[in-house]
């Protein structure tokens, strides 16, 4: 597990197509994983060799060093975007430094082997980008960003420092944008590996089209579009720009603004519905949601289980054990097939108690949950509703919330509907839950 980071949402991976691993190289990488990944590195073509010769100097290795021990905690990549010492990397490469600036520092090692220190100037947590600033004394060139639209299948070249093996160039192809996310991610077919996080992916002309960010394995990799980084650079280089004093407060502000956009109109109008177990339930509320359904087909089973789940792929890295930004909901219908209601309700109650468990542990970054449980009537049926919420301890005004409802009064049918909102304001958590449940109707 050591190399790269895998999501810890084990319980929810059954219906989740993407299991992203960040391209971060943390301490103690797994030797087995490293060997296997090295084998898949594509052999550079003639173009790649030329690009490498020309641009290697503009890519640096990022080391996040623990101040106390002086040892590097993790490594990533970064690239120069200006002649006066600005670099772009991923937010997740420097997240520890942002959260705990007294414990960590950042240093850059360029292709020539020179080490210099750097500061985090500003971050864009939603797009997973950060701007680093180092002393402007170097004379190397810097990258510019591509502006032309890309064609599917177009050759791209990713640069970065995989697995402490030195700077590498990886050839791959552009395969469009990720569909089920509000914020764009480029689907890059090529073997990105831990340590390449924050490195540039360029076209044959040497312009940056994306920033290496994560991989799903088997050459399915993802890039932050270069246009996002270009916007961030333009913002920093604008005259009179002042970087934020408190990066953590700025991260909280960005997340609040993000969820406002995200949730503003969610579940307000024209929400498609699906019929499940006699109820009308909301589904697929926006293009950036992805829905799946699954059912047991065991004729001997004493009860039937149908699951319908929708979620976004917009996951925002906050810390190794704390991801945010995902909106997810699930409807689960349990139907007793000749099972006595006393037994059936035990199973039903267990399923209700367990829930989807879609949220990360969150470590010390979140409080414990606090809940309100009630029995209510809504849409022609009675339900047990519970609203559970926890606060972010480091990021002001942000919460994770889970709304749950279980159908009551049917001896042989149970419907559990659950909405998980992560990284939202309290008011939005309540308002979106209210709108979501308002769409639930029972048809006798």
């Amino acid at each position: 597990m050591g190399a790269g980071l895998t999501r810890s949402l084990a319980a929810s991976t059954d219906l989740r197509p993407l299991a992203l691993a960040l391209l971060l190289l943390a301490a103690a990488p797994s030797a087995a994983l490293a060997r296997q990944d090295v084998d898949t590195l594509a052999a550079p073509s003639g173009v790649a060799a030329q690009l490498f010769r020309r641009y290697a100097d503009r890519v640096a290795k990022v080391e996040v060093v623990e101040v106390g021990s002086g040892a590097k905690a993790l490594t990533g990549s970064a690239f120069f975007v200006s002649g006066d010492g600005l670099l772009i990397t991923n937010y997740h490469v420097v997240a520890r430094l942002v959260a705990d600036p007294d414990r960590y520092r950042v240093q850059l090692i360029d292709h020539g082997g020179t080490t210099r220190s750097a500061d985090v100037l500003v971050v864009d947590v939603v797009h997973d980008l950060a701007v680093l600033e180092t002393d402007p004394g170097h004379n190397d060139g810097y990258f510019t960003f591509a502006t032309d639209p890309l064609d599917q299948g177009q050759r791209l070249y990713a640069l970065g420092h995989p697995l402490e093996l030195g700077l590498a160039i990886v050839e791959g192809t552009y395969n469009g944008l990720l569909k089920h996310s509000l914020y764009p991610r480029i689907h890059f077919t090529g073997a990105l590996n831990p340590g390449m996080s924050g490195g540039p992916t360029i076209d044959a002309a040497g312009d940056v089209v994306g920033i290496n960010v994560s991989t799903d394995g088997n050459e399915v990799s993802f890039l932050v579009p270069g246009t996002q980084a270009a916007l961030l650079v333009a913002q920093v280089e604008a005259p009179g720009y002042r970087p934020p004093d408190d990066l953590t407060a700025d991260v909280a502000r960005q997340l609040r603004a993000y969820q406002r956009t995200y949730l503003g109109t969610l579940f307000t109008r024209n929400v498609p519905t699906t019929e499940l177990g006699g109820a009308t339930l909301p589904t697929d509320p926006a293009p950036y949601f992805n829905c799946w359904a699954d059912a047991d087909n065991d004729p001997d089973a004493t009860y039937q289980n149908v699951v319908h789940r929708c979620s976004t792929d917009d996951e925002i890295f906050l810390a190794e054990d704390h991801w945010s930004g995902v909106i997810e909901f699930q409807h689960r219908v349990l139907t007793a097939a000749g099972m006595p209601s006393a037994q059936f309700y035990r199973i039903y109650q267990r399923a209700f108690a367990q829930g989807t468990d879609a949220l990360d542990d969150g470590g010390d970054d979140v409080t414990d949950f606090r809940c309100i449980t009630r029995n209510v009537h809504q849409g022609g049926a009675r339900w047990r509703t519970a609203f559970c919420v926890r606060a972010y301890t480091q990021l002001d005004g942000l919460y994770d919330a889970v709304f749950r409802a279980a159908l009551l009064g049917r001896p042989d049918t149970g419907i559990i509907t659950e909405l998980t909102l992560s990284g939202v304001t309290y008011d939005n958590a309540v308002a979106v839950s209210r709108r979501f449940f308002g769409l639930v109707k029972w048809k006798p």
Binding site: T302, Y303, M339, P340, S341, A342, Q343, F344, Y345, R346, I347, Y348, Q349, F352, A353, D364, T367, D368, F369, R370, C371, I372, T373, R374, N375, V376, H377, Q378, A381, R382, W383, R384, T385, A386, F387, C388, V389, R390, A391, Y392, T393, Q394, Y399, A406, L408, G409, R410, P411, G414, Y426, D427, V430, S433, R434, F437, G438
Partner: protein
């Protein structure tokens, strides 16, 4: 010469240690060797009490001007005199004495299998004991049956049945062993009745608490009421066992039982609360009741209450940072 009274010195369990006929009245009782009944009790006076007849000729025992006084067993203050009226148990110093009037006939012999008189007899009736134990076992089996999802698998039901029977037998047997010698025979069944009745009551209040948590999820008092009832039941459990095994006075019996129950429940509560904040307010209890039997509020009322929760989570967050 025919005895006009008998004085029986009782042990702590109420069993007769010595029995002495009184042939002449008045007869004195005390530590002094000139008494008709001699007590080995440092808290008894030299001449402590006197058995005699009152003006109407009834047999009585009266205080002979003792230091520490004469008491009726089972409560009440210092008595100047106590009417025997067939038989009376009194305490002087730390000695319990039963004074018996032999002219009052003894009750007829019990037939084999007949119930003992009074509450004890009811407790020890085999029909009562076995019915109570059978009900507990049935309740345990039912819980196991409802709790597992596969009706064709009976192993957990058998396991629950065997466990219930085993726990009851070991528990009642331990009390019966501890109280051996306190009374002839039958004590095991009395303990079995006490244990089974308490277990049934516990199952009852747990079930009741589940339904209460289901029907009124917002009510904070459900937990406190359940806790209080559990304390009372535990006290009754120990009181029942001690009642069978000892002849302590009622007040002390009750105090001892309550002390044991409170201590036990407090220890449990402390060990549970050690985990910290286990009560999040989420109650997942679901019961197969008819919809019309479930009190509900409008969904909008539910959402209107949610902003109140914010202050509670925010205080958690400020505690952490």
């Amino acid at each position: 010469m025919e005895a006009v009274a008998f004085v029986e010195v009782l042990d702590r369990r109420g069993q007769v240690r010595t029995r002495q006929p009184i042939v002449e009245l008045p007869a004195t009782i005390g530590r002094d060797y000139h008494n008709a009944v001699i007590l080995d009790d440092r808290w008894a006076s030299a001449v402590h009490a006197r058995i005699t007849r009152d003006a109407e000729g009834r047999l009585i025992i009266e205080d002979a001007g003792s230091e520490n006084g004469l008491f009726r067993a089972g409560g009440g203050g210092r008595a100047r005199q106590v009417a025997i009226d067939g038989a009376a148990v009194v305490r002087m110093g730390r000695t319990f004495l039963r004074i018996v009037d032999p002219s009052v006939p003894v009750p007829p012999a019990l037939r084999y299998g007949a119930r003992l008189p009074g509450f004890d007899g009811w407790l020890e009736a085999p029909a009562v004991a076995f019915t109570a134990a059978a009900l507990v076992t049935a309740a345990a089996a039912w819980q196991a049956w409802a709790g597992h999802g596969d009706p064709s698998d009976s192993s957990s039901i058998v396991g629950a049945t065997v466990t219930a029977v085993g726990v009851l037998v070991v528990w009642a047997g331990t009390w019966a062993f501890a109280g051996r010698g306190s009374a002839p025979g039958g004590r095991f069944l009395g303990h079995l009745t006490v244990a089974s009745a308490t277990a049934l009551a516990f199952i009852g209040i747990i079930t009741g608490a589940e339904y209460a948590a289901f029907l009124w999820p917002g009510a904070r008092s459900v937990g406190a009421v359940t806790f209080a009832v559990a304390v009372i039941l535990l006290a009754l459990l120990f009181a029942g066992h001690l009642l069978i095994n000892t002849r302590l006075r009622r007040g002390r019996l009750l105090a001892t039982s309550v002390a044991i129950a409170v201590t036990a429940v407090t220890l449990v509560a402390l060990s549970l609360s050690d985990g910290g904040g286990s009560d999040t307010g989420f109650s997942s209890t679901l019961k197969p009741l008819r919809a019309t039997a479930i009190p509900t509020e409008d969904a909008s009322r539910f959402f209107d209450q949610l902003p109140a929760l914010k202050a509670r989570v925010d205080s958690l967050a400020s505690d952490t940072t």
